[in-house]
């Protein structure tokens, strides 16, 4: 019996043929279309075998793949030892990118921890792991990661420079915020008295207070409208208001100008190290460790930078020799190391590295001699001891091997952050010596007269001090500082206006002292006055307007109210805290938004925390200023009732 013979649907042969054609077409196309990893060549410049193994590590990463990943990591580590590569910092970056793309970013901790062994010089990785440990309350791992972080910073030049640059930028941003905050708060503090004094200049005109108000407003608004740099405007405002300030407020203004001078010099520092930034991934001279250079460091690196001199030349050559060594051009590397040894510089490290090159070239005895020479020059150097130990073992010189074994094992274990385990290193792994970052550090922070020259050309000059020409900036800052001091001294000799901090009454005084900034009526605590009628109403209105003004200042520029209440030092401390939070936000915000990978992930958290701190401090400052001023008015009997 046939069941449903008519309704049975058959796929026509034509359709099958069409699918087959499509499949064949795709099979032809697929090899032509590059894979996502191959498309961008995730590990440019590394030898093919190393690059391929690194790709396998990235592909093996993922939640629950710990064992497979561990095997791949071991293989990659061996391949790296073969080529004298200490760290491939791109590996954790690629894994994190993949995790973010595939949605297991929050479960990538185990994979990234596993690859720390092939990227021990990745400062970013250690910092990310430390943050994850801190969030997860894993104290032991956290301490270990901090150890790795400090080791990476000490060994990996770009990392150290990056942190130095971050610190300098953070300090500069915070100083910039402080200068802006201080200058605006001080100008608003001086504004009423300044307006009254400017009005004296226009006494011949009707309603001179209107002209004076316009003039003072113009002093504030013109630099803004003109697009003057933050620092230049801040100095101008501080100098303008100096005569009307108390000693504590002058201290705030003076500190702001000194901080601006610091920003100027920081600009010089950043400008001097700028040639090294942005080139690490392209493998310029400090980018050798962790990131590889296909062509080796450029000859003009140091010349292009403003860091000249024999020390920088030496470090450049060291880095270039390391690059050649990793790339596999052993003959060039040997020549470079020999040249450096001939000059008698960096002997222990150069001997160690030349020894590795010579072993790779088959010159085992010469290599061993180099290791021994390195040990002789630096007996505590763990790398050369280990390399010599390995060669002794390979040549079955067991007596010599056993003699140095304890020192070799102990030395190799103490090399942070590499996590070397001697018992696992059974394939004759040789450990290269990286460029000593301490030398870079020392050179970088040697005070040089060139800093001032470089500061003129730095990006900070344009940002903070335009339109003042670069060479005039130090003079401009000094002039601002001196002008503020002289203006204050002069104010004690001539008739000037003083504004009562409690009620806002403006009086002309000579020989201004801080005691005169509370008027007689407020000292006598007469409230709105002893007389009735319009005079009483006028005083009431003055108090009311003054209170509104100070409250508005407190809310818009937190801390300004505290200045009116006479709490200068507390306000300065508050301004410093606010500026540090705002500076942290400034430095992290852009990185959190525009940079990908682990840095963006961490910086996003940082700027969120910083923004939260700014908001909290802002609210606290507004409330504190408001309350402090209210207390001042209460103490002088000009508060309480609604005026």
């Amino acid at each position: 019996m046939l069941a449903y013979p008519i309704m049975t649907r058959r796929v026509p042969n034509r359709s099958r043929r069409a699918w087959a054609r499509y499949a064949l077409f795709l099979l032809v196309l697929l090899p032509i279309a590059p894979s996502p990893l191959a498309a961008a060549d995730p590990f440019p410049g590394y030898p093919a075998v190393v690059g391929a193994q690194a790709v396998r590590v990235v592909e093996a990463a993922g939640p629950g793949k710990g064992e497979v990943l561990e095997q791949e990591v071991r293989s990659l580590r061996r391949a790296m030892f073969e080529h004298g590569i200490l760290s491939i910092n791109t590996v954790p970056d690629r894994i994190f990118d993949r995790a973010a793309r595939e949605g297991w970013k929050h479960r990538s901790y185990e994979s990234l921890r596993a690859v720390a062994r092939v990227a021990p010089l990745s400062v970013t990785l250690w910092a990310w792991l430390a943050r994850e440990d801190a969030v997860g309350f894993r104290l032991e791992e956290f301490l270990s990661d901090m150890d790795g972080l400090s080791g990476a910073i000490r060994v990996y030049g770009p990392g150290l420079l990056g942190y130095a640059a971050w610190t300098v930028l953070f300090a500069s941003a915070s100083a910039g915020w402080f200068a802006v905050w201080a200058s605006i708060c001080l100008l608003l503090r001086a504004r009423p008295a300044l307006t009254a004094d400017v009005a004296r200049l226009f006494n011949r005109f009707p309603r001179p207070e209107i002209i004076a108000t316009g003039a003072v407003l113009a002093c504030f608004a013109v630099p803004i409208a003109w697009g003057v740099g933050l620092g230049a405007a801040a100095v101008f405002w501080i100098a303008l208001s100096a005569a009307y300030l108390r000693r504590g407020e002058l201290l705030i203004g003076g500190t702001a100008i000194l901080l601006l001078a610091g920003i100027f010099l920081c600009g010089g520092f950043l400008h001097s190290i700028q040639p090294m930034a942005g080139k690490a991934r392209q493998g310029r001279w400090l980018g050798v460790e962790g990131y590889y250079s296909p062509g080796g460091p450029g000859a003009g690196d140091v010349a292009e930078g403003r860091l000249g001199g024999p020390e920088w030349e030496r470090m450049t050559r060291f880095a270039r020799a390391r690059a050649e060594m990793q790339w596999g051009d052993q003959h060039t590397a040997e020549a470079l190391w020999t040249e450096m040894i001939g000059e008698g510089r960096d002997l222990a490290d150069a001997y160690n590295n030349r020894g590795i090159v010579r072993v790779r070239l088959g010159k085992t005895e010469e290599g061993l001699a180099d290791f021994e020479a390195a040990v002789e020059r630096n007996p505590s150097g763990g790398r050369a001891q280990w390399n010599a130990y390995q060669l002794y073992l390979q040549q079955f010189r067991l007596e010599q091997a056993s003699r140095i074994q304890p020192a070799a094992w102990a030395g190799i274990r103490n090399l942070a952050p590499f996590d070397y385990r001697a018992e696992e290193m059974t394939h004759g792994e040789l450990v290269a010596s990286p460029l000593r970052v301490g030398d870079v550090w020392k050179q970088l922070y040697t005070v040089r007269t060139d800093w001032l020259r470089e500061a003129r050309e730095s990006v900070f000059h344009g940002m903070f001090f335009r339109p003042v020409p670069g060479k005039w900036v130090p003079l401009f800052l000094a002039a601002g500082w001196i002008w503020a001091a002289l203006w204050k001294l002069l104010s004690r000799k001539i008739w000037m206006h003083s504004v009562c901090r409690a009620c806002g009454t403006t009086t002309v005084v000579v020989g201004s002292r801080e005691t005169t900034d509370i008027c007689n009526s407020c000292r006598a605590q007469v409230g709105r006055g002893v007389r009735a009628g319009e005079e009483r109403e006028q005083r009431g209105l003055r108090i009311l307007l003054h209170r509104r003004y100070v409250r508005a200042c407190s809310v818009l520029f937190p801390g300004a109210g505290a200045l009116w209440a006479g709490k200068e030092l507390q306000a300065m401390l508050y301004g410093a805290l606010l500026s540090l939070s705002a500076g942290l936000f400034t430095v992290s915000w852009g990185a959190g938004r525009h940079v990908g990978g682990m840095i963006a992930d961490m910086q996003t958290d940082v700027w969120r925390v910083a923004l939260g701190a700014v908001v909290l401090l802002w609210m606290f400052g507004a409330a504190w200023g408001w309350r402090a001023f209210e207390t001042l008015q209460l103490n002088h009997n000009v508060a309480g009732e609604r005026l």
Binding site: V123, T124, P158, G159, L161, G162, Y163, A165, W166, L169, A173, G176, W177, V180, I184, E209, I210, T213, L217, F220, A221, I224, G229, L230, Q274, M276, A277, G278, K279, A280, V459, F460, M463, F464, A532, G533, E534, E535, R536, E537, Q538, G540, L541, L544, L545, R548, Y549, A552, L556, A582, T586, V587, W589, G590, A591, R593, H594, V595, I599, L643
Partner: protein, 295 residues
């Protein structure tokens, strides 16, 4: 009951309402003004002057006497508009004045309004009878006959006494160095003498002393006869108009400060944009994230 003042004089109307112990309101209109008196059992308990006659309004009187400032008066009037309460009640509730002060100034207001309407020669009146409950904050109800006596005296004597003073605005000050014997003063003179400290404007001095214009000018004339005060014409720019100028200055300052604050607020917004461009914009971020390149 209604009619024309020319046919039935105002004293007669008041006497009629009083003698018949009527309760209700008596509206008297003339000179484009309407004044309403409230009667309770033939006695005057309250008055409602014409809104256009601000001089006789209770708030203005208290402001001129220095119990309130302009701004306070405006606020009170604004809150009165929403709550529907009378201004005197509000002032007592807010503690600006005591009940006693309010009662004194209500009486003054009634007298001023009565003297004002007594000067009318043409106009109309209209009485509407209904039950009137005396306000709690007011003083004792006033018998119209008593006020009428004073009113008649005012009509007879005021033009003569006023004629002894400068016709236009004048100012009055105490003579310096004069020895006085307070016991020799009448009650009104003593009150007025004290109030001379308050202002040089006689109108405001009378308000401060809580005297009607007629009572005040009489006491002032007596003090002048004793040689204790100096009277001089107020010329433009004189101290007598200083109060007015000060009032104008206060009003100007209030408007000007509001305008200035608005300008500074705009400048603050511009400053915020400027700071954003300097420290937070895309360009600034590019500079401040230079450290990323090292990693």
């Amino acid at each position: 009951m209604q009619g024309k003042i020319a046919d039935f004089g105002i004293p007669d109307i008041f006497q009629l309402v009083s003698s018949q112990a009527k309760s209700g309101s008596l509206a008297i209109s003339g000179n484009d003004r309407v004044t309403i008196f409230l009667f309770s059992e033939g006695r005057i308990v309250d008055v409602q002057p014409d809104r256009r006659e601000s001089r006789s309004l209770l708030g203005t009187m208290l402001r001129d006497a220095g119990y309130l400032t302009d701004s306070e008066l405006k606020r009170i009037l604004a809150s009165q508009g929403t709550g529907g309460s009378k201004i005197g009640q509000l002032l007592v509730e807010k503690g600006k004045i005591s009940k006693e002060v309010l009662a004194r100034y209500l009486l003054l207001q009634i007298k001023e309004c009565l003297f004002e309407v007594l000067t009318l020669r043409e106009g109309e009146y209209r009485f509407e009878g209904f039950a009137v409950r005396p306000p709690q904050w007011g003083g004792e109800a006033i018998r119209p006959e008593v006020l009428m006596m004073e009113g008649m005296q005012f009509l007879d004597e005021y033009p003569r006494i006023r004629g002894t003073f400068p016709p236009a605005a004048f100012r009055v000050t105490r003579k310096k160095g004069e020895r006085i014997d307070p016991n020799a003063f009448s009650g009104e003179e003593r009150i007025l003498w004290k109030a001379l400290d308050f202002s040089e404007d006689p109108g405001r001095v009378f308000r401060k002393a809580c005297l009607t214009g007629f009572e005040g000018i009489k006491a002032l004339a007596a003090l002048r006869e004793r040689g204790l005060i100096e009277v001089s014409s107020a010329v433009p720019g004189d101290r007598a108009v200083a109060a007015q100028r000060m009032r104008e200055a206060i009003a100007f300052r209030r408007r000007f400060e509001a305008f200035t604050m608005a300008l500074w607020a705009a400048a603050g917004v511009a400053a915020a944009v400027w700071i954003h461009r300097g420290l937070l914009s895309h360009v600034a971020s590019g500079t401040f994230m230079g450290w990323v390149d090292f990693f």
